[in-house]
Amino acid sequence: MKLTFGIGAIALLVAAIAMAIYEYLRYRQAKHYPDAESAYHNRPLTWLTDLFFFLALIAAFVFLHFDLNMNDEFSVSGNPKQGFYNLGLLFQPDWEFFFGYGQYQFSESVIWFIIKTFGISYIGTIIASILAIPFGLLASHKLFGNVAWPFEIILIAIRTVPELIFALILIRFTGFSYVSGILVIGIHSIGMIGKLYADQVDGIQQEPVEGVLSCGAGRWQQIHLAVMPQVLPNFISVALYRFDINVRTATILGVVLGSEGGIGYYLSTVASHYHKLGSCVLGIVILVVVINVVSSWLRKKLV
């Protein structure tokens, strides 16, 4: 049953792709029809390709339904009534836990952990945005030609590793501490910041570079005098954009980095105390919204 749908999905997909290739090849050749009527009757059979594609999708979904045992998963999953009750608990945050008074100290409150999270992402982003400048310049094909390839591959490789796996690896190096969080964000962000920097450098106006070149400047002087002044506001804008993302990343780092990794520590430890979880979620939403608004406001002012 399961296998039938799987094979059926693949067969239909192959048929759809074959149809599409056939229609494409048929349409490559110039056809001259005497009138609009005959051109209409000889139009490509796109609806057939679409139908095969659609059926392949349905067959694939049925296959996946049986392959993942979704019947069992749905029967195990809780009832929605309990879910709404728990959601109600989430909207009654534990204020003592949030502000750190009463039975909680300030150093274990949500506010303090939010500050820690902010600190990790801020320091990490500043380190990354400075370290990414040489990578971004070296990965630009316009400035360095084929020399840029290895650096571009390094940037792709950095981007490929998920942050959490990066954190798991770095724990052995720096321990369960603040420094691991900073290093995870500082090194992982280089991948994307460097790529966006390289895009900005590729998009500059060429005239200032040629002007400096005609006065006998070397490559370093070109970058210093003609490239950097053009791209610096864009670089800051990219760093702010990435800071926005990094704050979101830093909220989950605590899951593996322990109590020094920020608010994620509470997301993993108090996940079944819904009042406390509610105060954590409130803190995260406030942090992310504030950073998002400030970052987009600054970016609008810069560009």
């Binding site: 902010f118 792709i156 490929t160 501490s177 996940a271």
Partner: protein, 301 residues
């Protein structure tokens, strides 16, 4: 620019803060025949913002608990990679076991994650199709409707995926359904933002041509905009799929199964060689997806 005769009147404080007056010799031979005083901007705003950034940076260092940091373990740096890409005596003893773990359990976990992401991404993308047409300002001229959907988009993208998964776990429990539902919501948020921003950059002359031939809005979209955005839709779909595969590591930590769950158990037992064996297939898959989605013409960001 102010000449010598006007220099006598005193500039206001705001003016003096914004500009400084510099005396320069503009004559070609530098003989003092064309001395002028020029107002140069001071860029106080730039210095102030740099100062604020540095002050925030210094304040961040006060939140560090320095006692937990026991120095960089440089000897561990090489050992991590050795442990990850060699079979350890504690867990997988031989190379045969390493390879069979990689082709057996690791690939199976990645396959489960892929299936979850496939269902989530397809459903999320299908839901996003009507919404991104409603969001695009050059197709939908109703400002209120547009505003509502954009606010929903902001809310969806603001909540981190782990928080979303934790909230959904209240309803579905620690099952695959939680994972799929959070992938659907995550995909929806990314997909319709990318697509409506792309639609807003389009030239809509085919749209107007069909409109002038008497088509209603649905027919205009079906015949002009839809074929034009279709390639970008599929490129974004692949990109979102790749993001989801990377992000689904976190779903294991809320108990939604798949790749992250196996990773969590291996990490808890300290089986670094198993983590390494799980990383290689993921790495290969994500790089291939990135190359394909870039070749399909997706712009960065």
């Amino acid at each position: 620019m102010s000449s010598d005769s006007e220099a006598t009147e005193k500039p206001s404080l705001k003016e003096r803060l914004r500009y400084r007056t510099v005396t320069v010799d503009l004559s070609p031979n530098q003989d003092g025949s064309m001395v002028r005083s020029i107002q140069k901007p001071r860029h106080l705003g730039r210095y102030l913002s740099a100062l604020i950034a540095i002050v925030i940076l210094v304040l961040c260092f006060f939140s560090i608990d320095y006692s937990t940091f026991q120095g960089f373990k440089w000897d561990q740096l090489g050992a991590i990679f050795h442990d990850m890409f060699n079979p350890l005596p504690a867990s997988l003893k031989t190379w045969d076991a390493y390879w069979s773990y990689m082709w057996g359990e690791a690939i199976r976990a990645i396959w489960t994650t892929n299936e979850m992401c496939f269902i989530g991404v397809i459903l999320g993308a299908v839901i996003s199709i009507p919404i991104y047409y409603l969001c695009a300002s050059n197709i939908n001229h109703n400002r209120i409707l547009r505003g509502i959907f954009r606010v929903i988009n902001d809310v969806l993208r603001t909540i981190p995926q782990m928080v979303m998964a934790l909230i959904l776990r209240l309803f579905f429990g620690p099952t695959l359904v939680t994972g799929i539902a959070s992938i659907i919501i995550f995909t929806l948020g990314i997909m319709y933002q990318l697509m409506y921003q792309y639609i807003e950059t389009l030239e809509l002359s085919p749209f107007e041509a069909i409109r002038s031939n008497g088509g209603n809005t649905m027919q205009c979209i079906r015949l002009s905009v839809h074929p034009e955005v279709q390639p970008m839709f599929f490129a974004n779909l692949l990109y979102t799929f790749e993001i989801n595969i990377r992000a689904s590591v976190i779903l294991g930590y809320v108990g939604a199964g798949g790749y992250g769950f196996l990773l969590k158990t291996n990490f808890g037992s300290g089986y670094y060689d198993k983590i390494g064996a799980m990383m290689i297939p993921l790495f290969v898959e994500v790089i291939i997806l990135q190359i394909i989605s870039n070749a399909m013409g997706r712009k960065s960001r």
